[in-house]
């Protein structure tokens, strides 16, 4: 079964073709934006909120132009890259009684809070309020704890209303009504008059940045791929930080133009692209050299279900391909009212491919098969991620579904944020075996 799927052949039997490659011009700016984001959150005089990267973040944006926030998952991922601090955070969480198998981001985050340390210097900056979305078992509980510990107001929105194919007025109304309740609550809690113009602007930026990110991902359908997954993680993260900010949305436009230019000039992510792969789930952030290891086989991961869809907005295109979602602005829709903005936002967010996996693994399997075909993949590497029950939910079924479709698949077990649960030599040995079975020995 596994040998029946070949995808589009790339450089097989034709010697080792070498593509031109060069670093991304936008790299420096991506780093600067990220650094500034974390510094701004810690700076005094701002209205701070703490919450999930999956929150409907245009909502607090309406509280004023000085609103800043700290999204917990990318923050904890940043800590995971700092091995010593990560372990101290996890041990602090455990010392307070929190189970070691809980979400790694949650444990890292609360550990840092208990230690009263901020990964970017100084003390953990106390938020003025907490705001999150809830779809897995963790987010609602995560910020319940933060709000209790820091004694700050907290509001959350349940977005677990079923798969996008089942969306109806009742489900959208529920999310929109909670959004209205959240606005009322936050206005009272902060003593601020809510500004619909800022909400609308934030929604537009979100629609634009998430659609643009999907366009960037689509460019990786080209051979050679202009980006590898490791680089994509450094870019997608900006969407997880602040996709509602104009500067971030504008930056994605710049990224798109640069990647288009790389495609036009045939500039590849890596010089030898013999084998195109994708992964799934957050990578172990302390193991990003995994992507460099793949290069020894002439293999490149051209994305992942996670990196493509977490902050990417997608739709079926008339030619049958999967592409960037058309924004309300591109459709000529003028957003005039709070309710209209919230409805568009709810419908947009509830259609996120990443969220469909919470309801039925088959939905994700179908998308993985589609990605394998459209991105010309030779196989998938699935991370059985002990650190995230959300992205690991149904992953064993995804493996079976890919195998049934004849798509080679390898799995490895790790934890996105807790290196103590990782066996690197074993994982590398599995990669060796997988690449050998695909017919790509080390160069």
């Amino acid at each position: 079964m596994m040998a029946t799927f070949t995808g589009n052949d790339t450089n097989m039997g034709a010697g080792l073709k070498r593509y031109p490659t060069k670093p991304l011009d936008c790299w420096k700016k991506a780093k600067e934006l990220r650094q500034r984001y974390y510094e701004q959150y810690a700076a005094p005089g701002k209205l701070r909120w703490a919450g999930s990267a999956w929150a409907l973040d245009p909502i607090p944006a309406g509280l004023g132009e000085d609103v800043v926030h700290l999204t917990g998952e990318p923050y904890a991922a940043a800590i995971a890259f700092n091995k010593d601090f990560a372990v101290r955070c996890q041990e602090a969480a455990e010392a307070h009684g929190w189970a070691r198998d809980l979400c790694a981001y949650f444990r890292t985050y609360i550990g840092g809070m208990f230690l009263d340390e901020y990964a970017f210097g100084g003390k953990y900056p106390k938020p003025d309020f907490c705001f999150t979305g809830h779809i897995c078992c963790t987010h609602g509980k995560w910020y319940e704890l933060v709000s209790e510990y820091k004694k700050v107001p907290y509001v959350a929105i349940d977005v677990g209303v079923g798969a996008s194919g089942d969306l109806n007025a009742n489900k959208i109304d529920y999310v929109v009504n909670q959004a209205h309740e959240a606005i009322e609550y936050l206005s009272k809690a902060t003593g601020r008059e809510y500004r619909d113009d800022l909400l609308i602007e934030a929604c537009k930026n979100l629609f634009r940045s998430t659609s643009t990110w999907a366009k960037v991902c689509c460019l990786n359908k080209n051979i050679p791929a202009p980006l590898d997954e490791k680089s994509m993680h450094s870019l997608y993260v900006l969407g997880t930080l602040d996709r509602t900010d104009k500067e971030f949305a504008d930056f994605y436009d710049e990224v798109l133009e640069e990647v288009k230019d790389r495609v036009a000039q045939g500039i590849a992510a890596i010089p030898v692209e013999r084998c195109r792969l994708m992964t799934d789930s957050q990578p172990p952030w302390y193991f990003l050299h995994f992507y460099r290891y793949l290069e020894q086989f002439g293999a490149v991961s051209v994305g992942s279900f996670y990196v493509n869809t977490l902050e990417g907005a997608w739709e079926d295109k008339p030619d049958g391909t999967w592409g960037a979602r058309t924004t309300p602005m591109e459709k000529g829709i003028e957003i005039r009212t709070r309710d209209q903005a919230l409805r568009l936002l709810a419908e947009w967010e509830l259609s996120r491919p990443q969220w469909q996996t919470f309801y039925d693994p088959q939905l994700k399997t179908d998308l993985l098969i589609r990605m394998a075909k459209e991105w010309s993949l030779k196989g998938f590497i699935l991370h059985y991620n002990r650190g995230c029950e959300g992205t690991s939910s149904g992953i064993a079924e995804n493996r079976l579904g890919l195998m049934k479709a004849g798509i080679p698949v390898m799995t490895y077990e790790a934890n996105m944020g807790d290196e103590r649960e990782f066996d690197e030599p074993r994982t590398l040995a599995r990669i060796d075996s997988f690449m050998e079975s695909l017919g790509f020995p080390k160069q």
Partner: protein, 376 residues
């Protein structure tokens, strides 16, 4: 067979019961995975609701389908389907709760043939004013789906009958629990657990008749045992009768519980309303929440404390299915909360099977800490 033994027998022979019920009535049997399932509607549709629970046997059949980081309970449940133990089910359904048990449902749907399956979107944000109207809407869709499946309309009269049957059973179980407040309860924790579990898989009217028989006996029932320390069981799904038998063999009586094969399942009634679907929705939104739905405020904790006070509890055993994220997210603050209110706790992590010998030592050590004041 005594009426108490009848409950235990129903639990032990649940599959035989369901098959016999099906043969006797010609009705359909629907397996469900979580106690947020509105059984009122299923009963109103003339269907037997049966909760899918595990068997507490080591198994090796679920590994390809559910990653091993998810709770043993959800994998044990799926194992029952893969092994064909529930081959009499006509359909399955789940009311949205945790990601763990949800995978039992989705993998069952993929690998165990059934005629009917339905994913019911029970809201998580039960503290939102929008939760009840939303869930009412979802119940409306579920009702239509059940009607299409059975080929019969579900009338308001049917729904009200379902409500009445469920409420009667709940009221009777609360009456049984009332006896557990006595200094020497005429019913053990093990017997109480068997009563509640059996109610999740037996025709509710038949179960209620048995409860009435039991209630007639309880005033004169005497147990030939010492009550010992009065304990409470709190936590994840728990149908481990062997564990409970051990706990009550070392000088204790479990006098009340807060888990989903106990009070969290049956404690709250449907408050009648002219809109029956709304009334049902309101009941499930307002019931004692599973931790996964207990935010932004922890409303579950005061109820646990109230139970502890009402039943004269001296200590609480907090049990948690291994890897159960929702309960793991409640246990540290719950432990602190109970301690703050003078309730000592013992934490135990459960798997499909539990090390009864080791747990016995830990329970005995816990009992010693409870009696320290007597020593000094």
């Amino acid at each position: 067979m005594s009426v108490v033994d009848r409950f235990a027998n129903w639990w032990a022979n649940r599959h035989e019961y369901a098959k016999e019920w099906k043969a006797r009535t010609g009705g359909k049997v629907l397996g469900y995975f979580c106690t947020y399932m509105p059984e009122e509607m299923i009963i109103g549709a003339g269907i037997l609701p049966v909760r899918i629970l595990g068997s507490h046997e080591p198994q090796d059949v679920t590994e390809p389908y559910i990653f091993g980081m998810f709770c043993p309970f959800c994998r044990d449940c799926l194992a029952q389907g893969l092994k064909g133990r529930f081959d009499y089910l006509d359909g399955i359904s789940i009311a949205q709760s945790c990601l763990h048990i949800r995978q039992s449902y989705t993998s069952w749907k993929l690998h165990v043939p059934v005629d009917y399956s339905y994913y019911l979107c029970m809201p998580h944000h039960v503290q939102s004013p929008s939760a009840k109207p939303f869930y009412r809407g979802e119940l409306e869709a579920f009702k239509k789906s059940l009607e299409e499946w059975t080929g019969k309309p579900i009338t308001d009269q049917d729904l009200n009958r379902g409500i009445q049957i469920m409420n009667r059973n709940r009221q009777l179980m609360r009456q049984v629990y009332e006896y557990r407040k006595q200094p020497n309860p005429p019913i053990t924790g093990l017997e109480a657990m068997q009563i509640v579990i059996s109610s999740q898989m037996v025709d509710k009217e038949e179960h209620s008749r048995a409860l009435e028989e039991l209630l007639a006996e309880l005033p004169d029932r005497k147990l030939n045992r010492n009550t010992g320390a009065r304990l409470m069981l709190v936590g994840s799904e728990d149908d481990d009768t062997e564990f409970l038998k051990m706990v009550e063999s070392v000088g204790t009586t479990v006098v009340v519980d807060e888990h989903c094969t106990g009070t969290r399942y049956f404690w709250d009634d449907v408050v009648p309303n002219t809109d029956s679907l709304y009334a049902i929705a309101a009941r499930y939104v307002d019931r004692t929440p599973c931790p996964t739905k207990d935010w932004p405020e922890r409303r579950r904790f005061p109820r646990i404390l109230q139970f502890a006070k009402d039943y004269g509890v001296q200590g609480a055993i907090i049990i948690q299915q291994k890897f159960c994220d929702p309960h793991e997210a409640d246990i540290p603050p719950l432990t602190a909360y109970l301690k703050e209110h003078g309730i000592p706790t013992l934490f135990l992590e459960f798997d499909v099977t539990v090390p009864v010998g080791q747990f016995r030592i830990r329970v005995e050590a816990f009992l010693e800490t409870l009696s320290q004041e007597d020593l000094f």
